[in-house]
C-alpha cells in the first residue's frame, strides 16, 4: 500500500529525515513513535505531500507520488517513470485521509458542512449522497446529535471525532493520524482513541504518530521507532515493547513507560 524508499527531508541545514525505508501493507496499522523532533510528523506529512521530500521516493498503491529519484533507478528514464506511475497531489490526497493534532475543522462551517464540503467540491458528489454518508459517519463516531452546530461549541474530543469522520467522508484507502490526542484534555483522550480503535479493527490501513504507548501497543500491527530522522526499529508491538534491540529505544521506553 505505502512504500517509502530512502526518504530524506531537510529544512535548510536541518536534516529531519535521513533515509527512511518503510513499507505498509493494506490493512496494516503502523504506529510511529519516538522522541519529539525525531521526524515522526514530517514523515507522516510527506506521505500526504504536505511536505515535499528532499530525496527518495514515496509510492502509494503502486503510484509514485514524489518526483522520481534517479539515484534509486540507475539506468532508467525519469520521463518513463513519471508517465507510468506519477499521480498528482490532488488525486492522491483524495485517497489518503489525514487527522491533525489541532483538528483543523473549518470554524465557519457547521459540523454537517464540514463533512460534506470536500465530497461535494472534490468528488462532485450530490448533496443527498454526501449528507447521507455524513450522517452514517457522524453516527459511528457518536456525533450525530451535533450535526448542525458550529465547531466552536464542541469540546476538543468532539472536534477530533468530527475531524476523523470528515476525513473518512472522502472514503480514503489510508488514514494518517498526526498525534490525534496530544492537544486533548486527559478526560477526552479515551473517546477519540475508541473511535480510532474501531477504525483499526475495521481493516483500515493506518499510520499513526502517537505518544500513547499503551494504545499503540494495543492496536498496532507494527511499531516504528524513529530517532533523529532514522528509522531505528520496525517490529511487532509485543517484541518492540518487551525486547527493544537498540539502546536508544530502550532509553526512550524507560522514560515513557
Amino acid at each position: 500500500m505505502i512504500d517509502v524508499k530512502k526518504l530524506h527531508k531537510s529544512f535548510g541545514s536541518l536534516k529531519v529525515l535521513q533515509g527512511i525505508d518503510l513499507h505498509v501493507n493494506k490493512g496494516d496499522v503502523v504506529s510511529i513513535i519516538g522522541p519529539s523532533g525525531s521526524g515522526k510528523s514530517t514523515l507522516l506529512r510527506s506521505i500526504n505531500l504536505l511536505e515535499t521530500a528532499t530525496a527518495g521516493e514515496i509510492w502509494v498503491d503502486g503510484k509514485l507520488i514524489t518526483q522520481p529519484d534517479m539515484r534509486l533507478h540507475p539506468g532508467e528514464n525519469a520521463q518513463v517513470i513519471i508517465k507510468a506511475h506519477y499521480q498528482d497531489p490532488y488525486s492522491l490526497r483524495r485517497r489518503v485521509g489525514m487527522v491533525f493534532q489541532h483538528f483543523n475543522l473549518f470554524p465557519h462551517k457547521t459540523v454537517l458542512e464540514n463533512m460534506i464540503y470536500a465530497p461535494m467540491t472534490v468528488k462532485k458528489e450530490s448533496r443527498e449522497v454526501a449528507v447521507e454518508r455524513a450522517k452514517e459517519l457522524l453516527e459511528s463516531v457518536g456525533m450525530l446529535d451535533k450535526i448542525d452546530v458550529y465547531p466552536a461549541t464542541l469540546s476538543g474530543g468532539q472536534k477530533q471525532r468530527v475531524a476523523i469522520a470528515r476525513a473518512l467522508a472522502m472514503e480514503p484507502d489510508v488514514m494518517l493520524f498526526d498525534e490525534p490526542t496530544s492537544a486533548l484534555d486527559p478526560e477526552m483522550v479515551k473517546e477519540v482513541l475508541d473511535v480510532i480503535k474501531k477504525l483499526a479493527n475495521s481493516g483500515m490501513t493506518m499510520l499513526l504518530v502517537t505518544h500513547e504507548m499503551g494504545f499503540a501497543r494495543e492496536v498496532s500491527d507494527r511499531i516504528c521507532f524513529l530517532d533523529e530522522g532514522v528509522l531505528i526499529e520496525d517490529a511487532p508491538p509485543e517484541i518492540f515493547f518487551s525486547t527493544p534491540k537498540s539502546d536508544r529505544a530502550k532509553a526512550f521506553l524507560e522514560k515513557v513507560l
Binding site: L50, F106, P107, Y117, V122, A167
Partner: protein, 221 residues
C-alpha cells in the same frame, strides 16, 4: 442674521435625488472595490514576485496621491490620452472603487495572513484545490476580521464621494452649493448637509454592527 430653514423645503426633492446619487456612487464603488480587492489581496500574498510587486505598487499609488487629484486625473486627464470618454458618474465610481480596492486589499491581506495554517493543510489534505480553498475556506474567514475595517472604508467612502461635486455630479454637497448661490444663504443648506451625512454615517455604523454580528455567528457558543 436670522436663520430660516424653511428656505430648504422647496429643495427637498433635489436633496432626495442627490442623496440617491451619493448612495449609488458609494455602494457601486464599495462593491466594485471589494471585487477588485480580492485578486489584489491574493497577489499580495502570492509567492509570484511580479504579482506581489504589482499589488504593492498599485496600493502605494492610491495611498500616495490625493483623492481629488485622482478624480481630476480620471475625469479630465485620462480621456485626453486614451480613447475613452467617462461620464462624471463613471469616472467617480472608477476612482473610488480602485481606491477602496487598494485599502480593502491591505486589510484583507492582514486577514488572510491571520488564518491558521492548519486551515490550509486541512483543505489540502482533503484534496481541495487552491481556488476552491481560497473561495470557500480562507476568504470567508478572512472577511470576518476584515469586517470592521470594511465598515470604516464604507463610511470614509461615503464622505469622500463629496469630491464628485467638483466634477459636476449633483450629489448632496452640490445641491447645497446651488441653494447657496440662489438664496445667498450658506449656513442652513450646509448645516442640513452635515446633518444628512451624520445620520447616514450613524445608520451605516449600526448596519455594520449588525453585519459583524451576522458574520461572527459561528463563533457563538
Amino acid at each position: 442674521m436670522q436663520l430660516d430653514f424653511s428656505i430648504l423645503i422647496k429643495y427637498l426633492p433635489d436633496f432626495g435625488a442627490a442623496l440617491m446619487v451619493t448612495l449609488e456612487v458609494t455602494v457601486c464603488s464599495l462593491l466594485l472595490g471589494l471585487l477588485f480587492s480580492i485578486p489584489l489581496s491574493l497577489f499580495k500574498i502570492s509567492s509570484i514576485k511580479p504579482l506581489e510587486w504589482f499589488a504593492s505598487f498599485y496600493t502605494s499609488i492610491f495611498r500616495g496621491v490625493p483623492l481629488m487629484v485622482q478624480v481630476f486625473m480620471m475625469y479630465f486627464g485620462v480621456p485626453l490620452v486614451l480613447p475613452v470618454k467617462f461620464t462624471a458618474f463613471t469616472a467617480g465610481v472608477l476612482v473610488f472603487s480602485m481606491n477602496s480596492a487598494a485599502y480593502i486589499s491591505e486589510s484583507m491581506r492582514g486577514g488572510i495572513k491571520a488564518i491558521d495554517k492548519g486551515q490550509y493543510e486541512a483543505a489540502m489534505a482533503l484534496g481541495v484545490r487552491y481556488g476552491a480553498m481560497m473561495k470557500d475556506i480562507i476568504l470567508p474567514q478572512a472577511i470576518k476580521s476584515v469586517m470592521p475595517s470594511l465598515v470604516n472604508e464604507f463610511i470614509s467612502l461615503l464622505k469622500n464621494t463629496t469630491l464628485i461635486a467638483s466634477i459636476g455630479l449633483v450629489d448632496i454637497l452640490r445641491v447645497g452649493q446651488l441653494i447657496q448661490s440662489r438664496t445667498y444663504r450658506a449656513f442652513e443648506p450646509f448645516f442640513a448637509i452635515a446633518v444628512f451625512y451624520y445620520i447616514l454615517v450613524m445608520a451605516l455604523s449600526f448596519l455594520g454592527k449588525l453585519l459583524e454580528r451576522w458574520v461572527n455567528k459561528s463563533d457563538r457558543r
